[in-house]
């Protein structure tokens, strides 16, 4: 076996970390993200406000904020809605998979740091979905498995996490013959249910094409 040359630790740490580089896809995604933020900033700064308009806008903002606050106090997001919002937000990001496999056994073998075992659901909606991999994630602060499924050319996201009633509240249980909750977030349908002691959340999004996946 070829022996590598010994060098000062400082030099070796520098060498090792210099090899760690973002790939082109990752750089492009980050630049796109930053450009989006910058556009918003530029829009704001390039406008010329006359004092009267500024005062009007301020008054409008105060009234809107007040009304929004009043409204939101009466209409706080329900837990299923919060779950759907979090799931859809991560679904749309399509972050790189940490494990790429079509086998649930291989997925179980990868997710060893979870406090539960990812399982296959008996929900019929999953019949046409093919597992392609997963990554560690969290749902409402609880560690979860984020599984990516393929449905023809579309990708769907399935979350599995330990069902903690105190956190997630009352969610329909498949074993009791209850149908999954259907919630919409950002225009995307999400089914939420409990089965085999786990909480599941599955997107049903026709818009996300397979070609957009980042290989990281």
């Amino acid at each position: 076996m070829k022996k590598s040359l010994k060098q000062p630790l400082k030099q070796q740490v520098q060498n090792q970390l210099n090899e760690v580089q973002l790939d082109k896809t990752q750089l492009a995604a980050l630049e796109k993200l930053m450009a989006g933020g910058e556009d918003k900033g530029k829009k704001g700064s390039s406008r010329t406000w006359i004092p009267l308009a500024a005062a009007g806008m301020f008054l409008f903002a105060v009234i809107t904020a007040f009304m929004t606050l009043q409204f939101s106090q009466d209409n706080l997001l329900t837990m299923p809605q919060q779950i759907a919002e979090e799931v859809v937000s991560n679904h749309l990001k399509l972050k790189p998979l940490e494990v790429k496999t079509g086998s649930i056994d291989a997925v179980r073998g990868y997710f060893t740091k979870l406090d539960f075992m990812p399982v296959e659901s008996s929900l019929q909606a999953l019949d046409n979905l093919q597992l392609i991999g997963g990554r560690y994630c969290s749902l409402q602060g609880i560690t979860a498995a984020q599984l990516r499924m393929k449905q023809g050319e579309n990708l769907q996201t399935l979350y599995e996490t330990e069902y903690v009633p105190d956190v997630f509240g009352d969610i329909p249980r498949l074993e009791k013959g209850e149908a999954p909750l259907v919630v919409y977030a950002k225009g995307i349908k999400v089914k939420v249910w409990v089965e085999k002691g786990l909480l599941f959340a599955l997107t049903d999004s026709p818009e996300v094409a397979g070609g957009k996946e980042m290989d990281g």
């Binding site: 022996k3 590598s4 040359l5 010994k6 060098q7 000062p8 630790l9 400082k10 030099q11 070796q12 740490v13 520098q14 060498n15 090792q16 970390l17 210099n18 760690v20 580089q21 973002l22 990752q26 750089l27 995604a29 980050l30 993200l33 930053m34 989006g36 933020g37 910058e38 900033g41 990001k93 972050k95 790189p96 998979l97 940490e98 990554r135 969290s138 990281g216």
Partner: protein, 159 residues
């Protein structure tokens, strides 16, 4: 917000230093950029510093503070005279470092990053990672010992 590719890569290396995993590092960086966009600073340097804080806090949250960043103050149990440059004379082969890297505690990898890549002094590192200088020097002493023990074990294994 503007960050050039060199700065993004530098932040990515810091994230990798914490996670020892490229996918996790990208995840951490992506989240930091997203968060920073909501509260951008006026200078690039401040944005970079803010993103490092975001990444570290997020990492500690995700990987549980007590496991990855132990609180114990080991200064009380450490040798009295520890040189601040006690890592300077350590030599190691690149392959050995690559093998050992993942097994090091995240806080040790962060110390190595701040020392070797950022070029910070021990005093500056102790401020960055918010431990006393004595604790940091003790940690370095243990790190050096650990590097040495691991290398000896590996050499014995190869013999």
């Amino acid at each position: 917000m503007e960050l050039d590719r060199a700065s993004l890569n530098k932040l990515y290396r810091y994230a990798y230093t914490l996670t020892a995993n490229e996918a996790d590092a990208y995840d951490l960086l992506y989240n930091a950029v997203e968060t920073c966009l909501n509260r951008p600073s006026e200078t690039i340097e401040k944005n970079i510093a803010y993103m490092r804080v975001i990444m570290k806090n997020r990492f500690i949250d995700d990987y549980r503070h007590n496991q990855s960043f132990p609180h114990e103050d080991i200064a009380d149990h450490s040798p009295v005279s520890i040189s601040g440059s006690s890592l300077e004379d350590v030599v190691i082969a690149s392959h050995d470092l690559a093998v050992l890297w993942e097994s090091l505690e995240p806080v040790d990898r962060e110390v190595l990053f701040l020392w070797a890549v950022e070029g910070f002094s021990m005093r500056e590192i102790s401020e960055k990672i918010e431990v006393s200088r004595g604790t940091l020097l003790s940690r370095i002493h243990r790190l050096r010992k650990r590097l040495s023990e691991n290398l000896n074990d590996r050499q014995r294994g190869q013999a």
